[in-house]
């Protein structure tokens, strides 16, 4: 049987920004969840999750020593801190949008 839970239950995250590029770290709370996130948290899924902001590319870097991933999402900030009209022009709260993503888990 499969069910899904939000990424928020499995990981914590922080956003940074450079120009029109956002980077979001995702850090597993428990080491045993790292491989699940490795399988579920693909570049394609993350790109689709941010689809409404039209990112041009998503790159995932893996840091197994740190139980962490770093997602670099291009052109997702409406021009970035200087040009975006968003109240959160740095996109700082985007980490919590990523944490809202649903993750499929196997229930045996």
């Amino acid at each position: 049987m499969n069910k899904s839970i939000s990424l928020y239950k499995l990981a914590h995250a922080r956003t940074g920004d450079k120009g029109n590029r956002s980077n979001i770290s995702v850090i597993a709370h428990h080491p045993e969840d790292f491989s699940l996130l490795q399988k579920e948290l693909t570049e394609e899924k993350v790109k689709a999750h941010f689809g409404f902001r039209n990112p041009s590319a998503v790159k995932r870097y893996e840091l197994p020593n740190l139980m962490a991933f770093n997602f670099v999402i291009d052109d997702v900030l409406d021009g970035g801190v200087n040009l975006s009209l968003n109240l959160d022009s740095h996109g700082k709260s985007l980490s919590y949008w990523l944490l809202a993503m649903e993750i499929n888990i196997d229930c045996k």
Partner: protein, 452 residues
């Protein structure tokens, strides 16, 4: 760890708290041993804002809170042999040095040695054509239609280190890479070779952990019930202990709030990082792919295994240009059917300002997560009793065109839907930044001592 050098960071941005240096300096003095205090106060746009300020008044253009930052601790640092390094010079390092000298004099320290790092400003007319040639064709076209406000290269740590070795008690810089504020003192103390890449890599990541101040000690981390942080109102700022092998331990003064654990350090280690194998700085390319973080307990976390690779051939420069005007205006609709009334107001604004690119937020129902196009997740209150703040934003090169946003929202008071209130409007100049990479040999960094 033997032969420990401590670096404490008392500011993570321009405008950060100014009461945080005191507990840091008290802790450095209590621990004894070699140490320094750094202030990181320049973000991407801060320097351009400082340039604008200097254009208005040639005496200004350095960190506005410089006095408040240094006054509480300057005498104890000087008397305790703790050098101070800060990029608080911003657009006017000489002005900052002059102010620091006058504070020192008031404190009965008339002869302190203040070094000024120079060479980051590449906005001079003589350099303009070289600079423009280094921009991408798209950015050249943008610059051609705008006014250059500032152009600064991110300098490395060598001038800071040289100044400290020559006896500087305070080092004032303008634009340097943020980690350079930490790398400079560590290189001056440990006297490593500037091609000891692993040491430079570790020093750089130590600086990276420090450069946002409280972001590694529990600031920007708390999520009640999930990630609780004690004493956040009095969050302590970080201290890094560094040894000759490049081992790092992050901690904070025990008298302060906040926390240092594996989670806070991991979040900050990856903050504003792209490829973890290639963190580019002027001094080294740092690599954390083999790094380990160990929670030692008691607000002590170690970072080991950072590697370094030879420094890049180019230096990054930030070119700041005039970006026109940003207008923002807000009005609230609350109570029954508020969201529908706010939507009606938005439609009126869209009709009245159809020639402008508007962003419209219904705060309380939809904001933040959606893009500037307005697409994205939304929720609507179930009860029919709502509290919606309508926000309209637009940017324009012409001040009067941007100002129409403010006027039209204000007019909603009498010409719009029922019950609108709480209009706030603002019109601000915008700055836009362009980046380019300058061959190292074109940049001449130096330092000199301030002569009062």
């Amino acid at each position: 760890m033997t032969d420990i050098y401590r670096v404490a960071c008392a500011a993570g941005f321009s405008g950060d708290r100014t009461d945080v240096a005191r507990p840091l300096v008290d802790e450095l003095l209590r621990q004894g041993g070699p140490s320094c205090l750094i202030f990181e106060s320049l973000a991407e746009r801060t320097l351009a804002l400082a340039q604008l300020e200097r254009h208005q008044n040639a005496q200004m253009g350095y960190e506005p809170l410089l006095s408040e930052m240094l006054e509480p601790v300057l005498a104890d640092c000087i008397n305790g042999g703790i050098p101070i390094v800060g990029n608080f010079g911003a657009a006017n390092p000489e002005g900052a040095a002059k102010l620091i000298a006058s504070i020192a004099k008031q404190k009965g320290l008339p002869n302190i040695r203040i070094a000024i790092v120079k060479g980051d400003d590449v906005s001079a007319a003589a350099f303009r054509s070289k600079l423009e040639a280094l921009l991408s064709p798209e950015d050249q076209a943008i610059l051609a239609k705008s006014t250059l406000v500032s152009a600064n290269v991110y300098l490395g740590a060598q001038e800071i280190a040289n100044a400290l070795i020559a006896g500087a008690q305070v080092v004032v810089t303008g634009r340097v890479a943020d980690p350079a504020l930490t790398v400079g003192p560590l290189m001056a103390h440990f006297k490593k070779d500037w091609s000891d890449w692993d040491f430079l890599g570790a020093a750089t990541m130590a600086g990276h952990l420090l450069e946002c101040g409280a972001q590694v000690t529990g600031g920007y981390f708390a999520d009640p019930g999930i990630k609780d942080v004690p004493g956040l109102a009095q969050v302590g700022f970080p201290i890094v202990e560094f040894d000759a092998q490049g081992n790092i331990c992050v901690t904070k003064p025990p008298s302060t709030g906040g926390l240092v654990n594996r989670m806070t350090v991991t979040e900050q280690l990856l903050y504003e990082l792209h490829d973890p194998a290639k963190y580019l700085t002027p001094d080294v390319i740092a690599d954390i792919t083999k790094a380990h973080i160990t929670d030692l307990g008691g607000d002590r976390v170690s970072l080991t295994g950072v590697l370094g690779h030879p420094k890049p051939d180019t230096l990054k420069a930030n070119v700041c240009i005039d970006g026109g005007w940003l207008a923002e205006a807000e009005i609230s609709y609350a109570g029954f059917n508020a969201y529908a009334r706010a939507q009606l107001a938005a439609n009126i604004i869209r009709e009245r300002l159809s020639d402008l690119d508007l962003r419209i937020d219904f705060i309380g129902a939809s904001s933040i997560f959606s893009g500037d196009t307005g697409e994205g997740p939304q929720f609507k209150s179930k009860e029919g009793f709502e509290d919606i703040r309508l926000r309209v934003a637009a940017a324009h090169g012409d001040r009067n065109q941007a100002l129409r946003v403010c006027r039209e929202i204000t007019a909603l008071y009498t010409c719009g839907p029922a019950g609108g209130g709480g209009v706030r409007t603002s019109l601000k100049p915008r700055l836009n930044t362009l980046a380019c990479f300058i061959p190292r040999e074109l940049v001449k960094a130096s330092y000199e001592f301030f002569e009062g």
